[in-house]
């Protein structure tokens, strides 16, 4: 239990169980992205060919906005009873906590995507011309990129005034390359073109930002 992976597992288990009982994050994310989908389909009303062109953008913008809802709640629970302060004085490695929180958010957003994608397909009459396994790969890599930076910046904006506003202000500019890669690769795969460049870019982005977030998380957690 006291090994770094044990601490990660315990924290993750606790977060998942809390989420399973309350379903706060997943419900608000689901309803939010449903609203985005409905509003978008009212404002565009595309044909099958058009929706292939715009679906990549719509899907990822909806998921990005929905993910911010969950990310904002990541640390709120730990603030309430000074859990974070207790964690800081304990000898547990900070990165175990960070990994647990990131994995938890990753699972929430992936579940959201799994539930919302069928709806997207139905509403926009989507049919992929490219290989579907590549779409899954892009979903995993892209979600990780959003979530790893998002969890990090959520921890950072804890120390600021009006933290709910601060998270998207910090997260969106840094995520632009990842978002661009996600949107472009999704569009390319849906319309049957190659997306190799974008997938390589996403992998590199994930590796670099995961490493840097792990290196700097201790500094952010202990910032006083």
């Amino acid at each position: 239990m006291s090994t770094p992976t044990g601490i990660t597992r315990a924290t993750l288990h606790k977060d998942l169980r809390l989420e399973w009982r309350s379903k706060d994050a997943i419900n608000s994310m689901l309803f939010f992205s449903l609203l985005v989908v409905v509003v978008f389909s009212f404002s565009f009303d595309p044909s099958a060919e058009e929706s292939r062109q715009i679906a990549g953008g719509l899907i990822w913008v909806a998921f990005l906005f929905a993910a911010v809802v969950a990310l904002n709640q990541t640390w709120a629970r730990e603030i309430r009873n000074q859990v974070l302060d207790a964690y800081r004085v304990s000898p547990a490695p900070p990165n175990s906590l960070f990994l647990a929180k990131t994995l938890g958010n990753f699972i929430f957003v992936i579940v959201l995507e799994a539930l919302m994608t069928p709806l997207f397909i139905a509403f926009y009459r989507l049919r992929s011309l490219g290989p579907v396994w590549q779409l899954l790969l892009v979903a995993v890599l892209g979600t990780w990129a959003l979530v790893v930076n998002g969890t990090f910046f959520a921890a950072m904006s804890l120390r600021t005034r009006s933290r709910e506003i601060m998270l998207p202000l910090l997260l969106f500019p840094i995520s632009i390359p990842a978002l661009l890669a996600m949107v472009q690769s999704t569009t390319a795969i849906l319309s049957g073109e190659g997306a190799r460049f974008w997938i390589v870019l996403l992998v590199t982005y994930d590796l670099v930002f995961t490493t840097v977030c792990l290196l700097l998380f201790e500094t952010v957690l202990n910032a006083e």
Binding site: N149, M156, R159, T160, R161, S162, I165, M166, L169, L170, F172, P173, I174, I176, P177, A178, L180, A181, Q184, F197, W198, L201, T204, Y205, V208, F209, V212, L216, T219, V220, A223, E224
Partner: protein
């Protein structure tokens, strides 16, 4: 040293007015674009100045983070020196892509290591935070000048105000990143601001290559850089450009310097107030 600041002010004023004269009257008129092209003497030097300032912000932020532990400081110094050396050596031993001069690469290498060690010797660790703040603020101003003068030029020449081309988009994203940096500094509570800002600055700077490569995939409409391939620009125009660049750099240095003094004084005043209220027996809060 006491008179350095006013001397720099006078030199900047002379350089700026001479550069203005040269840009508007001295330089030859461009054949196809006409007088609109003269905005180039402000657009390009502003861009160079902004990028230099953002780079200084990155170095200052790295130093703020690493200099609290001596081992991290040593590692970072080796890395900075090593990167500078590798880039410098690459200018001579690695075949460069078309249009990039070895001398430019070698200068970049020297600049990386030189700036790092210059800042390290001139500024104490708390002072690097002031430097990071100042360079980001002034850099955002110059970057705004770039983003405003660009469309003014593009409208008559390209026929459009804006296009999602590589250079325009990456400059805009760079501007967004550093504006979010200033937002963080504004919104964060005072004690932890330097640390969080330094962390964000490092992440933002790491993002720049990704921005560049991701947007590189779109077609590019921007005129190719005039410094790289050589021969495409009239030497008189090049001289005026370099003169303007010098003037703008002096101006940026002047603004940064006065902003730096202001910020340092402000912090001293805040500290004095905090101390005073601690020592005051009635416990009054100023």
């Amino acid at each position: 040293m006491k008179h350095a600041f006013p001397i720099l002010g006078v030199v900047t004023a002379i350089l700026l007015s001479f550069a203005l004269y040269e840009a508007l009257i001295g330089a030859p008129t461009e054949q196809t674009m006409g007088d609109v092209q003269r905005i180039f003497y402000y657009h390009v030097p502003s861009a160079w100045t902004a990028f230099t300032l953002f780079f200084i912000n990155f170095i200052a932020s790295v130093q703020y983070l690493v200099r609290s532990s001596s081992s991290a400081d040593r590692v970072a110094s080796y890395v900075a020196g090593g990167v500078g050396l590798v880039v410098f050596a690459a200018a001579f031993f690695v075949p460069l892509p078309m249009g990039i001069r070895p001398s430019a690469v070698a200068t970049t290498g020297l600049l990386i290591a030189g700036l790092y060690f210059l800042i390290r010797s001139l500024f104490s660790q708390p002072a690097t935070d002031v430097l990071a703040l100042v360079s980001a603020e002034v850099g955002v101003v110059f970057c705004t000048v770039v983003l405003v003068t660009g469309p003014i030029w593009a409208r008559p020449v390209w026929g459009i105000w804006w296009t999602w081309d590589m250079r325009l988009t990456s400059t805009l994203v760079l501007w967004l990143i550093y504006v979010s940096y200033l937002f963080l500094r504004r919104f964060s509570s005072s004690g932890q601001t330097p640390l969080l800002a330094a962390v964000l600055a490092v992440l933002g700077a790491l993002c720049v290559p990704f921005v560049y490569f991701s947007i590189w995939f779109f077609r590019t409409q921007h005129p190719q850089p005039v410094m790289g391939d050589g021969g495409s620009i009239d030497p008189r125009m090049l001289n005026v450009l370099l003169l303007n660049w010098l003037a703008f750099s002096c101006f940026a240095l002047l603004v940064c310097w006065s902003r730096y003094r202001l910020e340092t004084l402000q912090r001293e005043v805040d500290q004095a107030h905090a101390l005073e209220s601690l020592l005051d027996p009635r416990g009054s809060v100023r």
